[in-house]
Symmetry: C2
Subunit: 222 residues, 2 copies
C-alpha cells in the first residue's frame, strides 16, 4: 500500500485536473456563444463525458482512501471536502453544457441581442477566475485567499441582475426577440450558478483550514 500522503497528493491533482477541464468548458461555452461557433459548443458537450468520468473516479478514490486508511480529524475532514468539491465541479460542468446548448439554440436564431450578449464573456471570465483562485486556495490550504473570493459572487449576481433587466426591456420592445432573450437569460443564470458553486468550494476551504463552518453563516444572526 502506498503512503497516504502520496495518495492524497494524487487526489489533489485529480481535482485540479477536473477543475482545469471545467474552467476550459466554461470558457469555450461562452466563446461558442459570442463567436456563433456550434463546433466549439459541441466540444463542451462532448467534454462533459470526461468530466463525469473524473467525478466517478474521484469518488472511488476517496472511498478507497477512507476504507484503507481510516483517517481521523484533519485528514477525514479533507476527504469529506473532496467529495463535496467533486460534486460542485461536476455540477459546474453541467452548467457549462447548459450554456453550450443555449449557444447552439441562439446561433440558429441569429438574433441581435447586443449589449447583454457582450456581458457574457465578462461574467464568464469572472467565474473562471473565481474557480481558478478557489482551487488554488484549496491546494495551498489558504483560507485568506478563499475568503477573498466570496465578494466576487455578489458582483456576478449584480451583472446577472443588470442583464435580466436589459433583456426584459428587449422582450417588451420586440416580441420577435423573446425566444432568444430567454436563451440568454438562462446563460446568465448558469454562469451565476457556477459562481455559487465556486463560492461553495471557497467556503469548504475556509472550513477545512479554520475548522469554522461559514456555510449558512447567516445562521449566526439568529
Amino acid at each position: 500500500m502506498r503512503h497516504f500522503a502520496e495518495e492524497l497528493e494524487e487526489l489533489n491533482q485529480a481535482l485540479l485536473e477536473m477543475g482545469g477541464l471545467v474552467e476550459s468548458s466554461i470558457h469555450t461555452s461562452v466563446q461558442a456563444l459570442v463567436e456563433h461557433d456550434d463546433r466549439m459548443a459541441r466540444r463542451v458537450v462532448e467534454d462533459e463525458m470526461l468530466i463525469n468520468r473524473m467525478e466517478l473516479n474521484i469518488d472511488a478514490r476517496v472511498t478507497r482512501l477512507l476504507a484503507l486508511n481510516q483517517p481521523v480529524a484533519g485528514d477525514l475532514r479533507l476527504l469529506v471536502m473532496c467529495l463535496k468539491i467533486n460534486t460542485d465541479l461536476e455540477r459546474m460542468g453541467d452548467l457549462a453544457v447548459n450554456v453550450a446548448e443555449r449557444a447552439i439554440s441562439l446561433n440558429r436564431l441569429a438574433a441581435p441581442l447586443g449589449p447583454p450578449l457582450q456581458e457574457m464573456p465578462r461574467m464568464a471570465s469572472m467565474v473562471e477566475d473565481m474557480l481558478h483562485r478557489t482551487l488554488d486556495a484549496f491546494v495551498r490550504r489558504d483560507a485568506e485567499q478563499a475568503s477573498a473570493i466570496l465578494p466576487a459572487d455578489d458582483d456576478v449576481d449584480r451583472i446577472r441582475d443588470g442583464v435580466y433587466t436589459e433583456l426584459i426591456t428587449t422582450m417588451r420592445r420586440d416580441p420577435n426577440l423573446v425566444e432568444a432573450a430567454i436563451h440568454l437569460m438562462f446563460v446568465a443564470r448558469s454562469l451565476e450558478r457556477i459562481a455559487d458553486h465556486a463560492t461553495n468550494i471557497a467556503e469548504d476551504v475556509i472550513y477545512l483550514v479554520r475548522g469554522v463552518d461559514v456555510r449558512h453563516h447567516h445562521l449566526e444572526e439568529v
Copy 2:
C-alpha cells in the same frame, strides 16, 4: 460509545426528517404561488434556515461516524451516500425558496398567466412524490423502487417544456406579461431541478443496493 447500528438509524431518521421538511417547503411554495399568499411564501423562506441547520448537523454526524467507527465496505458506502443525499436535499430546499421568492414577486404583479400557472401544482405534486418515494426507497434499501422513480424525471421535463412554450407565446402576444412570465418560467425551472435532485438520490440508492453506479449511465454507450 453507542452502537454503530443505532447511530446509523438516527442518521436515517435525520435525513427523513430533513426530507419531510423539504417536501413540505416545495408544497407550500407552490401553494403560495397559486393562492397568492405571501405569508406562506415567507414561511418557506424562514424554514430554509431549519433545513440548513439540518444539513450541517447531518454532515457533522456522518463525519463523526466515519471517525469513530471507521466503517468499511457497505457501511462506508452508505455514509458517503448520506453526505451526497444531504447535499441534494439542501439544494432542493434552496430551490423551494426560489419558488417562494418568485411567488412573492408574482403576487405583486397580479398578472393573469392562466394555464401555465395551473401546471405548477401538478409539477409540484410530481416532484414531491418523487422525493417521497426516493427517500422511502432509501430507508428500505429498495433499488427496484428507486429505479421506478427515474422515468418521472422525463415527465417533469416534458411539462416544463410545455410551460416554456406557452409562456413564450404569452410574452410575444402581450409585452405587459413579460416580467410575470419570466418569474413563472423560473418556477418551472426550479421544480424541474428539484426532480433532478430526486433522481440523483434515486441513483445513489441503486448504487448503494446493487453496487452499480448508474450516474452518467450514458458513459456505457461510449
